[in-house]
Amino acid sequence: MRLSWRDKLTRWDGKYTPYLIIAPFFLVFGVFGLYPLLYTAWVSLHDWQLIDGDQGFTGLANYAELLSDGNFWNALGNTVSLFLLSTVPQLFAALGLAALLDRGLRGRAFWRAGVLLPNVISVAAVALVFAQLYGRDFGIVNSLLGLVGVDPVDWRAETWASHLAISSMVMWRWVGYNALIYLAAMQSVPKDMYESAMLDGASRWRVFWSITVPSIRPTLLFTVIVSTIGGMQLFVEPQLFDPGGTATGTGGDDRQFQTLVMYLYEKGFRLFDAGYSSAIAWVLFLLILVVAMVNFAVTRRIASKG
């Protein structure tokens, strides 16, 4: 049977229109995502100066140097430490906050909008305020510690102190955001499950861990993956916490809180070594990819169990 012109159009429409509709995304991704990624890979194989450009192909020399670069491993260690210190407590706090918001509070909308506020405020403003809170000589945190008899802490100089301070900044910004995501998931948990649990005499605590948390598992995993990617790329908070600022970009006098992205920035934009900086960018990209894949595998296993 011969298809009519109209039928042909309909078939064509069904076949190709979806691709046309999603094409802009891939176009934009290609221009702003894929192209820079590939170009960075190309730059990383060269001795490339930021202003003067290509100074010659060097193969994997930048990567070889990176692997024996103590500062790189230091930055990696700091990144992981800051990531763990900020993400783990952050997600637990968000979970608790979401559980509270899930209960019938007065002025619900107010509280829900309120927890998102820290996330809306510019990160630079947050860093400015926290830098003052954690001031060594005249900071509020140290004066509060003084009230309970603790000696003042030099928040920027000590490794652990600086990590705690920066993590608190990250937590402040992201707890509310994650709490809202959890809250949305919690509200779709069927209420009759709670009711039957209550009838069986389960405590609130038990209900939360046995019903609420397992029900929102996919959401939990989503936030873990997103926080991981964010945590690996931590930059502005520690950079602005550094009193030397971008003048040094070393994350403290002993590189005690320099993250991978800060090291990338130092190499590329203060020392103008674009080739080396690109190599760091690629290693970071691969690291995130590996972590994301591990996360994904875990997701699938847990999801299939559920």
């Binding site: 930021l50 202003i51 003067d52 450009g53 510019s122 630079a124 403003a125 860093a127 400015l128 830098a131 003052q132 001031g135 060594r136 000589d137 005249f138 030099d154 100089a157 602005l240 009193p243 030397g244 600022g245 971008t246 003048a247 040094t248 070393t250 006098d253 002993d254 934009f269 203060r270 020392l271 103008f272 674009a274």
Partner: protein, 428 residues
């Protein structure tokens, strides 16, 4: 103008970050349809241009000038990326003395101002300032000098009095003909007033001593790394580190938020002050400290810390007009007015020797005759040679001093680590 705005406020960084994005998208200059030439000037603190620009626009109809101000470090980073990308740079850009050696390496991205008649103006500047802005044996003029940072030492009169030290600036200057004497004064001060710090930061003292030597980290002859053999560097470091070891410094990052707070709280008694630093001290200490700070001669004589140049990137659309404007802004008459307005010391003898300039006093600093103090200091000034990698290795030594101040390392350990790091970085 100088190393003025290092970490001055984080808020500025926020603005600068945004500005970086915006500027990265915008082009330089550009024309309106009506034939107006639009020029932009990229600077990183108050260069005192605002009034001058208005005047220039009035006398040059058809030229419109816009200033873009970002934080100093951001400014130079942004300039580097704009030069690399071939677009986005302002028509005239300021480059700080500590960074110019690095940009000299990329001179082909800049207009040779000699092609626009700059060579005839050579004698306007102090010879060393002119040389810093040129390359290829003076044939390539990269930048025209604006201000300079001849050195003095600021001290707080009330803290000196409390420590039983003289308070009048002549006598104070006589207390410390050398940096060794300065350290002795520190000991006296600390013994009398142990709660107060004698100086804000070891790295400021270090920088000041280093700026009084002819060569620093790199050899004048061949730009080779000599910090490990040039005993003047080690001596400067050891002197500064000993202040840190004795906890006589505030261990502050210069010009940071904490530094401002410490100024406000009067927690340190002295700080090195090049001409441009006066405005920062005044801003940090606030009105209630008016008349409490004063300016004395620096130990060890004159030195230069900071100061800038105006350069014209090749990528601009109106390099000719830009070069004309840069020449006008750096002419002695204009620089003299800038000094009176902002306190930025001109690098042109005709300007800093001008009776009007030398007669200038600064009311905030107990009416100190700043024109005379900085003018004299400028006369005896022997600038330090800045190597191409100066801005690369400098933070390594500053971090080392900071480690001494926070008690992580002894002076000797910190020195050894810094020298090794710097040596490795210079070999690349």
């Amino acid at each position: 103008m100088s190393r003025t705005s290092v970490g001055r406020t984080t808020a500025i960084t926020a603005v600068a970050l945004t500005a970086t994005l915006v500027a990265a998208c915008g082009g330089g200059g550009g024309d309106a349809g009506d034939g107006t030439v639009k020029l932009s000037i990229g600077i990183f603190s108050d260069f005192g241009f605002t009034n001058l620009i208005k005047e220039y626009q009035a006398s040059h109809p058809g030229i419109e000038i816009e200033q873009r101000t970002v934080k100093m470090e951001q400014h130079h980073t942004q300039l580097a990326t704009q030069l690399a990308g071939g677009r986005g740079a302002a028509d005239i850009v300021a480059i700080e003395e500590g960074n110019i050696a690095q940009f000299r390496q990329s001179k082909d991205k800049f207009v040779n101002l000699a092609d626009h008649g700059a060579l005839e103006l050579k004698d306007q500047w102090a010879a060393w300032k002119w040389n810093q802005g040129t390359t290829d044996d003076g044939k390539f003029v990269l930048g025209l000098g604006t201000d300079m940072g001849s050195l003095a030492l600021c001290y707080r009169r009330d803290l000196f009095q409390a420590a039983g030290l003289p308070v009048e600036r002549e006598e104070v200057g006589k207390l410390w003909p050398t940096w060794e004497k300065y350290l002795e004064v520190a000991d006296t001060f600390t013994a009398k007033t142990p709660d107060k710090k004698f100086v804000d930061a070891a790295q400021n003292v270090y920088k000041a001593i280093l700026d009084q030597t002819e060569e620093g980290y790199f050899a004048k002859a061949d730009d080779g790394f000599i910090a490990d053999s040039n005993d003047k560097v080690e001596k400067a470091f050891t002197l500064a580190a000993s202040l840190g070891e004795k906890k006589q410094t505030g261990a502050l990052a210069p010009f940071s938020q904490d530094w401002n707070v410490a100024l406000k709280q009067a927690s340190f008694a002295t700080t090195t002050c090049p001409a441009w630093a006066l405005a920062l001290i005044k801003a940090g200490a606030g009105d209630e400290a008016a008349g409490k700070w004063d300016v004395a001669a620096a130990p060890g004589g004159g030195g230069n810390w900071g100061g800038s140049f105006l350069a014209v990137p090749k990528q601009g659309e109106h390099v000719k007009e830009a070069a004309e404007l840069a020449k006008w802004l750096t002419a002695p008459e204009q620089q003299k007015r800038i000094f009176k307005e902002t306190g930025n010391l001109p690098s042109q003898p005709a300007a800093y020797q001008d009776p009007e300039v030398t007669a200038t006093t600064n009311e905030y600093f107990n009416s100190a005759p700043v024109g005379q103090i900085f003018g004299n200091s400028a006369e005896s000034l022997k600038p330090t040679y800045r190597g191409t990698k100066d801005s690369v290795v400098t933070p390594m030594f500053n971090n080392a001093l900071s480690r001494v101040e926070t008690g992580k390392q002894s002076g000797a350990e910190a020195w050894e680590q810094a020298v090794n790091e710097a040596k490795a970085a210079s070999a690349k």
